[in-house]
Symmetry: C2
């Protein structure tokens, strides 16, 4: 009791001093403000805030006009989009339309440019079908020397095996590729340390290509997995499929990957599950996947030498399948570019430490973080320290020869991130905690190495976690965010579909502190990357007027100020239109029923935030025209009538007046 | 200086006492927490928080597991959706898919139920076209006796004149109607005090119906506006079009409406602009709309006696057009159910005071709030105190006879809300402020009535504003939110398309205080309503298993646990499937190319937050199955191949294993 009193008195002194600083500064500047400060304690008391709550409130509040320190790029899960979130305020700054049409951004809701982009990523010939949603999983920021460079963002679509490329100059999607041969992915996207390749691992095995039917009974014989390496042309900002390749792998379910960096640069590590090759069939008297996939104590970490794979492709040893070079499994084995390491049990994450030497694996049906050493892996490969081969002939490295450490951290560990002090942070799904533990040499030595430090409870069901730049060569520490799958009772109820929950955790102190619960009521985020905000340098307006946001250059066909008008050739009508506060020019589009109408529209605004929308009533068209942007709308005026068009983005006091009429005269 | 010192000392005393309370309670409970409290001042200093920032942080922070006091239902603008936001935390709790397909919620992305809902609101025959976006503007919560009852939410689509009905038991869209005759709306949705009708006013005039072409030169003769009264059947939770009607009105651009309440119950007040009947034509040598619409100093407030209109319809005096009863303009005039009042100049809002007696008008090209008295309006109508008729013969009430007051409040006033202390709050667009002013009798008397009290600057371009229950018969006071159209420099830049900005303002004290900036990076919210959270009582799971969320009852055709299986009739294949952690039953769907496949799938979960998704790779299908929900997917298996299906909502440690295969055997 004596000790407590002492603590109380000294704490009180600190508090009063701190309070004094505020009040003095406040009073000398503004007595109104001082009043507010003085009432802070009263506010907290009235609102029932604990001291921890007060600290959290002050650590996360970002006043008007002040900027967040970090931006998170979060998958929007099966919304198909990407979320951009500020840290520490945990405010949603933008939803980027990646795969799903989004009218506010004018993404594939009438604009020819983004419509073509999405159409180009429909299901390929033979299975052609329009795709208008996605299950985004793993965003990957472009890297230079293993560090985020703030230029591009890649994200996959698990449901259809596609990849979107987002340019961080304007935060818009520029390319979507439908991966050849693959029907679903999961371990995607990841980049190599200089973004030479964007990497995608398949999820559920299928014949290659998946449109080649084979009965499920021929699973081992005919079904396969794939890892794709898609060459990224940084200057063009595009994936170049002609220089890309895939590697055929066994029909296990490949899970997450991480590219080697620094000492392990040139290598790739991918977890896998279902090395049992269970094929399900529940309902037909067979065990369900959930049982069949979880029988073995060990699955296989896939260790891939992608630099060697590149050379094998260059040497002409790949086969062309569906327009892409594929290295056959046997070639991968023969050329020594694919090895397995036993990994316990049904792992999710494979995460490489900042120095590149440690690969951390956590089996979700295990209680350990298992750490392999890249130095040991190299030695084992050189010495052929194998414990056998899998049924396809892939050599399996001896577990004990490559193991650097194994830590008991809790039930259901999944993914691992790193800080700047030699610590690792692992999400522990089943027990709903985040575990902090120490890495070994050179980060920590002797007694201090490989120790569980602390666990913080989260609410509830943590999947991935992210720490500030926590998967790069130079993590920042400071913050981690627990990406919780369930929110249950954390938020005011909003019906049977509950939000997810991002919990911001301060990792800068001696003890981890929960700071903030952010509901995610717009998709189920899967993975997130967190980048220092000052690494980004986005445009505030487009650099020139008449800008095509797909080619990222001035479109010579864009409508120009002074040359507005309507040009008719037979039943083809070209409208050259400009938009500026507060009118469109022209305001009347008079056409005849059946005309092919093409509207070329350019925003000639230069002011930041002076965005215009362009909607045609009844025509299912809405564009978003940021200052300088040029876009095109194409349609057949097949129905007669009077259809207003108008600006959908409130732009000025006379915004309502920014309108016109599409007049479609009927055929007699 | 002397006075300041005195203030300082007494403030300091209060602060220390308040601090003491915290620290004592903290120390007695947890010394770790006390440490945090003591460091609060240090945190604020390090982060550069002013006393006002500290106060704001403490007033808005909602700790984990604590609930927000209010929910805001915000239009998502041209995203086509509705946003649900907690107050005071300003956290986005959910995006409700209203008009735009949204895969996370499984809204029209493969589920037959919601797909049919959206298809039913496509453009009508003659202009049939698929609509897959909307421009939502004005949410309206259902009311009982003029107060929010928390049961339903209505919202309009300005771009295509549609209305969505959302049930607040599950926060999902249950009905979408395409308004007959109207091509665009704006003044919509509003409800009568007991939700007898959902009201919609047209925006840009067009022929009736709009598919009846008439050249723009025949504007005055052939173009018309409409006000729709759509009968709401509360028991069924549906608009009943057979009991609904519209009133033909002049081709002005009708703007916002508000239904009378208490003393003015039975009446409706709608602003209008473009009483000039400008038709634009910029580019053809004519003045643009922005000039033509803004010539007259007065436009016309439309005063509608809807109870009389109801009687006129019942008496068979309406005409049937496109399947709905329409009261012709001349009938409306003859029957004395439509009057005009001059209103200055290009007004946006028409807002009725809590007691129903004052109608507040603000012309966006004016500097005043103009207030009409309902008592004066009644007297003027009774005495025929008209200042003339408009060109269509609608009687215009004498401005001075109905004016209760006029206040100079600033440049570009738009919309008005109310508090519980007899104050009104008006958004002032051009000067970017929110103005607080006093109402007259019975709220305030003599000198205190009709006075501008205070203005608070906002950042930037305030459109609507919302205060807690601020448009009902019993506003709560406490909070207002400024719905800003531009954010400009308020947030970390995220490209040329900037977020909007919601600024939370504390109106409970003597002075208004800006508390929080919330970026809206997912659409452009237009109007918002704010309801006390405890008025809502949403379901946490569906009440029974096999629930059809459109009929809101158990679907007799829903798949049942124990009766799973596949039934083939010729080339029709019915799959009866259940979903529960962590498997689908059945896991294999084997069909032949060309089969018509119908999957009836039921979530047999009962635990809160145990949602499953159901995606078929490559088939553009994703469902969201909340606990108990039953849904149906229908497709032709027209392409051969192997297509995994899987759960898209992370549901358990074995979520990845919750999968199966759709195997489509090719025709020979």
């Amino acid at each position: 009791m004596k000790q407590r009193k002492g603590v109380f008195l000294s704490l009180c002194a600190i508090f009063v001093i701190a309070a004094g600083i505020f009040i003095v500064s406040a009073v000398t500047s503004d007595s109104q403000q001082a009043k507010l400060s003085a009432s802070a304690g009263q506010i907290a008391q009235e609102r029932g805030l604990s001291p921890a709550d007060i600290s959290a409130a002050l650590k996360t509040y970002v006043p008007t006009g002040k900027y967040d320190d970090y931006l998170m790029f979060s998958s929007g899960g099966h919304s198909g989009q990407v979320l951009v979130i500020g840290v520490p305020s945990m405010r949603l700054l933008k939803v980027i339309a990646a795969f799903t049409p989004e009218p506010w951004q004018g993404f594939a809701t009438g604009a020819k440019e983004s419509g073509d982009l999405l159409d180009g990523a429909n299901m390929p010939l033979g299975t052609n079908r329009e795709l208008r949603w996605a299950d985004t999983h793993h965003p990957a920021l472009s890297e230079t020397n293993g560090d985020y460079d703030g230029q591009f963002l890649f994200i996959n679509d698990k449901a259809n095996a596609r990849i979107a490329v987002i340019d961080l100059r304007d935060f818009e999607t520029k390319q979507i590729i439908k991966s050849p041969n693959m029907i679903s992915d999961h371990g995607s996207t990841f980049v190599t340390p200089n973004t030479e390749y964007v990497i995608e691992g398949s999820q559920y095995a299928a014949p290659i290509p998946f449109s080649d039917y084979a009965p499920i009974e021929q699973y081992q014989e005919k079904y396969r997995g794939l890892i794709g390496f898609y060459k990224f042309n940084r200057a063009k900002g595009r994936i170049d499929m002609a220089s890309s390749f895939q590697i055929e792998i066994p029909p296990y379910w490949q899970d997450l990957c991480d590219a080697g960096k620094k000492v392990s640069e040139g290598w790739l590590f991918c977890g896998s599950l279902n090395t049992e090759m269970a094929t399900g069939g529940f309902g037909d008297g067979k065990p369900p996947f959930e049982a069949g996939v979880s029988q073995k104590d060990m699955d296989y970490l896939h260790v891939v030498n992608w630099k060697k794979a590149e050379a094998v492709v260059a040497a002409g040893k790949a086969k062309m399948i569906s327009g892409i070079k594929v290295i056959p499994l046997q070639t991968a084995i023969d050329e020594g570019l694919l090895y397995f390491i036993p990994e316990p049990k049904s792992p999710h994450g494979a995460d490489v430490s900042p120095d590149g030497n440690y690969i951390v694996i956590s089996g979700k049906l295990d209680t350990h973080a298992t750490i392999f050493g890249f130095d040991k892996i190299q030695k084992a490969i050189a010495n052929k320290t194998f414990e056998g081969k899998d049924v396809f002939g892939v050599p399996i490295l001896d577990f004990n020869a490559v193991k650097a450490a194994q830590l008991e951290i809790g039930l259901g560990p999944l993914h691992t991130q790193f800080d700047d002090k030699g610590n690792a942070y692992t999400s522990v799904f089943i027990e709903s905690t985040m575990a902090k533990w120490t890495l070994g040499e050179p980060y920590n030595s002797g007694e201090k190495a490989w120790k569980l430090v602390e666990k913080i409870p989260i609410h509830y069901n943590i999947g991935h976690l992210v720490c500030a730049e926590g998967d790069t060569v130079s993590p920042d520490g400071k913050y981690c965010v627990s990406l919780n799958k369930w929110a249950i009772d954390r938020f005011t109820p909003v019906g049977p579909l509950h939000p997810q929950n991002f919990q911001l955790i301060d990792i800068s102190g001696e003890k981890m502190q929960l700071l903030y619960d952010m509901p995610i009521g717009i998709g189920e985020p899967h993975y997130v990357q967190m980048i220092k905000a000052d690494k980004l340098n986005p445009w505030l307006v487009y650099p020139e007027v008449g800008f095509n946001t797909i080619t990222m250059s001035v479109d010579p066909k864009a409508a120009k100020s002074g040359s507005e008008g309507i040009v008719r050739n037979g039943n083809n009508v070209d409208v050259y239109m400009t938009a500026i506060r507060s009118h469109f020019n022209p305001e009347h589009i008079k056409v005849k029923q059946g005309d092919n109408v093409k509207i070329h529209i350019t925003s000639i605004e230069r002011a930041r935030d002076a965005t215009h929308g362009f909607a045609i009533d009844g025509y299912n068209v809405n564009l978003s025209l940021e200052p300088g942007e040029a876009s095109t709308v194409e349609f057949v005026a097949d129905k007669p009538g009077v259809y207003p068009f108008y600006c959908t983005e409130f732009c000025s006091a006379l915004h309502l007046e920014m309108a016109g009429y599409l007049l479609v005269e009927p055929n007699q």
